[in-house]
Symmetry: C3
Subunit: 275 residues, 3 copies
């Protein structure tokens, strides 16, 4: 059922404009190519609006912006809004410094997002639920667990309703909701935490899936999150002797490249509930 969104990405080959950080940008581009999208990175405020106009989706990742890049994000986001393109926000490390709060407040004020996807600490910070200051990684105590799942979904649903967008948390448990319906995903592998950029890659995939299926944003986002988790599992199963975290990263993107719609449907562990 969710495999159909992967099929759409492969047949439509959406161009995705990413304004993202220099740490993981190469992996984001390659994972988008891996899933069948066409990545394009352009940051200069003199061109981001023009570039996004010829794309099918925009991916804004606040990993390491400069003032100029922030201006480029706003220009691109507003043009995408005007054109009705899906726009994804990855609020990297929000909650750790006052500057990150300023950046996210600027973006939320100036742009209407289709989806906001962070790790548990980032999403808690956005929801005003504290969020421990753990740098770019989620703090263990912040993560949704089977025990607090209902409460976490409710809070995320309220945030989604208030912001008028999809809200998603990635981690050992992935959650996504539009404020009415929520999905819980139980795919993935702990080794993903030893690779930089898995969160950035996921945002890149979500933008690709939204670009290919803007008519079904919630389901397309579920499919993208499932694809990342399933790729994490397949990559682990394919590890050979003496391979560590960087080869795991390579196998992860390779798995996205090789995954068929039927693999996604066969492996997805998803549960639908009320938000």
């Amino acid at each position: 059922m969710f495999g159909q969104y992967l099929t759409k990405v492969r047949s439509k080959n959406p161009m995705v404009h990413s304004i993202t950080n220099f740490v993981t940008v190469n992996d984001v581009a390659n994972v988008q190519l891996a899933c069948g999208a066409s990545p394009c990175m352009a940051n200069h405020p003199a061109e981001t609006a023009d570039m996004t106009a010829i794309a099918q989706a925009l991916n804004i990742n606040m990993g390491n912006p400069t003032d100029t890049v922030l201006a480029g994000m706003v220009a691109a986001g507003q043009r995408s809004n005007d054109l009705g393109h899906p726009v994804v926000l990855d609020p990297v490390a929000v909650g750790t410094t006052p500057y990150r709060t300023f950046v996210v407040e600027t973006l939320l004020r100036e742009i209407r997002f289709t989806a906001i996807k962070g790790n548990a600490s980032e999403m808690r910070a956005l929801m005003g639920m504290g969020g421990h200051q753990g740098g770019v990684d989620a703090v263990e105590a912040d993560k949704p667990t089977e025990a607090n799942l209902t409460d976490f979904i409710q809070a995320l649903g309220a945030f989604a309703k208030a912001e008028g967008c999809l809200a998603a948390v990635s981690g050992p448990l992935d959650l996504v909701t539009d404020g009415q319906t929520a999905y819980v995903l139980r795919n993935g592998h702990p080794k993903m935490e030893e690779v930089t950029g898995t969160g950035c890659m996921l945002s890149g995939l979500i933008a690709a899936f939204l670009g290919a299926a803007p008519e079904a944003p919630l389901e397309a986002t579920v499919a993208a999150m499932a694809m990342m988790g399933v790729a994490g599992e397949m990559a682990w199963e394919r590890m050979q002797a003496d391979e560590g975290n960087v080869t795991y990263r390579n196998r992860l993107i390779d798995a996205v490249n090789l995954m068929r719609a039927e693999d996604l449907d066969a492996r997805i562990r998803v549960e639908k509930c009320k938000a």
Copy 2:
């Protein structure tokens, strides 16, 4: 015959100064090391002229410039011109936004290039032949084919003559000409289109080969383009089960690293003709 230029790169170990984009810069550095050159990346306009003075070639890639980096490119390009160093331009995504047109016009006005290498859409845009707006990737309809090959070579030759430099198109068919003589190359593999940065890596290789053989720029450029294509073939032949686009990227650079001059000579598929 063209393998001799690879031998020169390996024996002379030219230092190549690249001012390039943050998406693919790491792969550019590693592919230059792979072929036997010594990469150096420095962008600040306060030092680009000094840095390029101790290099043997300059590689300017307009993938994602800032105003400051553009100033750095001009300073480096002019110093390289003064010193008689080869200078390569990769006009990434030119034709997609007015800003890219401004950047390329600035560079062409301020710097004399030894070689300009783009994909088919970029080179068409530069030649005033339209070029579909496809972001960083060439649009299918723009590419040279066996059917329109003669016309494409003629247009490229006219452009080379007008600009006083080598003009090259990379893609399923590679073309390069100095306006008098043209070479058509038929190496490569379709999987290369699923890897970000193959175009950037190729510009990096061309700069390395020009740095090692500035006395024979056309032939050195042919050799660099052939090396990339042959590496794409060898990488594909070496793919193992469950390997996808990122491992293919790794095997591509590995193949450049392991390729001997005789491999290049044995596998090159090149045709010489009038421009």
Copy 3:
């Protein structure tokens, strides 16, 4: 004995704030994750002091700074000094351009470093011993050898004493000294010179080890340098047919990820002497 510092990194999971170059930043993040640290990259001067306050160590790499990033380095370095956090400097390509001299002088004036680690040409330039202008790579004639080892250690010791910090040289022979005691390390593999960023990765590891063992900075630095060298050896032993420099880079980081404290202790080739 030195393996205990690796054990500390794994048990303490120090957060390391890196302000580094865009060429190798992804590898730096992944090698820090590989060894058990938690990387965080943040460059904006509006947040670097805040970000470094929640980290356990700071890694400043002057590979390709902008004016803004340089301001971010100074702000972070001063806050780290106030908080007593270890701060590492990698003076990339110092000696090649006047701008690099300006950058390093600014950093040395504004920040007290715990350790300065460069290649032989960079450290010679800092020590006022010339240093050939070889771009980012050390020039052969600059490197310490068994013949000039005593002199090199003495000069390095004097520099360490004058700067009040650890001074380290990486290369075929690694040296590190606090001005009193020096260690000579003979691990590593020549293939490391065909990979971009091995020096940057090493600085990243040193910062991670210092963040985990600030009470024993000299020994922690020895352990980090040994880990990099041993990983280079293990990676080489694990190379398969048709693998070149990029797969070697992957295997190098993988080896850091898989290395146990007892592997480090079994393989380290270290000699202690007077500086």
